[in-house]
Symmetry: C2
Subunit: 195 residues, 2 copies
């Protein structure tokens, strides 16, 4: 319990919380554990995050955020919509697969946390479907895609690729046939978008 | 422990096993529990199913079988392939949703059992993808569909609809928006099959 020298920022609290969650698991981790890891009182932690739930939600949001940024760059890119869509779906699958594979225990921890913070997850999914809609709308505007409704099509693309991004399928992602399955699904979906 | 009057058939043992699994859960249920429920010795049960694993696999196979039959009728039906495909996918989703909704605890029990018997599940999935292939091949033969490879397309249809048949998604099936999500995914997939 070393007294902290650097100022206690929300960022440092979130890092310590991730560490505690990882060590004790989401069922057992407490705010007292987080405070102890930082060498502060739990009252100090509560000055930054008013409840345990708020702290855990902030960790969930922080965990989900990096995916959004990389994909946003692809969505806002110039170039053919079909190529961009394939790249976006492939990048999402690759990011999920990498995170699940590198540290399956941590992935399971954050999955439990995400399930408990379904609002944070719903907002994350809405952002990602919004990015798909940007690509679909661009494809429609260029005459590359023939969909009537960009928002409905974006939702359909999201749900039709659930096997390749929903953490419930993480145990299948490293199976040898999964990459080919992904390519077959993408090919069928892209065929459905062409005029 | 009433002594059994009717002959001890495999069917009766499977029924008793389902009952025991439901009561004690898949982690705790034993062959001794099954034998006790039937009023016989566990040696008698082992004469029909040589191992506990074989008994549990037979229960998993029995649980999965009814779906196959109803869907087979649709796959082998005459009529437009597109309508048949939509009906097949809709029937599978409806059957899964009904079984998950009627008795979520039993559904979870059998899901655990299915995970433990991945060969039985793999055979079940192969049968269902085979039925999709029958429909796709009929659509190609009639000029209704334009896919190059009926087998690859059947696999793509299966994986693109995972959210609506994979038990990992059971918790989403009764959400109000899921029926609309299903329709949007089907519409996109069918568009991808048209010439």
């Amino acid at each position: 319990m070393p007294p902290s020298e650097t100022p206690l920022t929300p960022e440092r609290i979130l890092e310590a919380t991730e560490d505690v969650l990882r060590r004790y698991g989401p069922a057992k981790a407490t705010v007292v554990d987080v405070a102890r890891a930082l060498g502060v009182s739990h009252g100090t932690v509560y000055r930054h995050f008013r409840t345990k739930a708020a702290l855990r939600e902030a960790v969930a949001v922080r965990w989900l955020a990096p995916e959004q940024g990389d994909l946003c760059v692809i969505a806002e890119d110039s170039g053919a919509a079909e190529e961009r869509l394939r790249r976006w779906l492939g990048s999402l699958f690759e990011a999920k697969r990498r995170r699940a594979g590198e540290d399956p225990e941590l992935f399971a921890t954050f999955l439990a946390l995400a399930r408990e913070n379904s609002d944070a997850v719903a907002r994350h999914i809405a952002v990602l479907i919004g990015q798909l809609e940007v690509i679909v709308a661009a494809g429609i505007a260029d005459g590359e895609f023939a969909a009537d409704d960009a928002a409905a099509t974006a939702r359909a693309l999201w749900h039709a690729t659930a096997r390749f991004h929903d953490p419930a399928h993480a145990h299948e992602w490293h199976a040898p046939e999964t990459a080919a399955d992904f390519d077959e699904v993408c090919a069928l979906l892209l065929r459905g978008l062409r005029p």
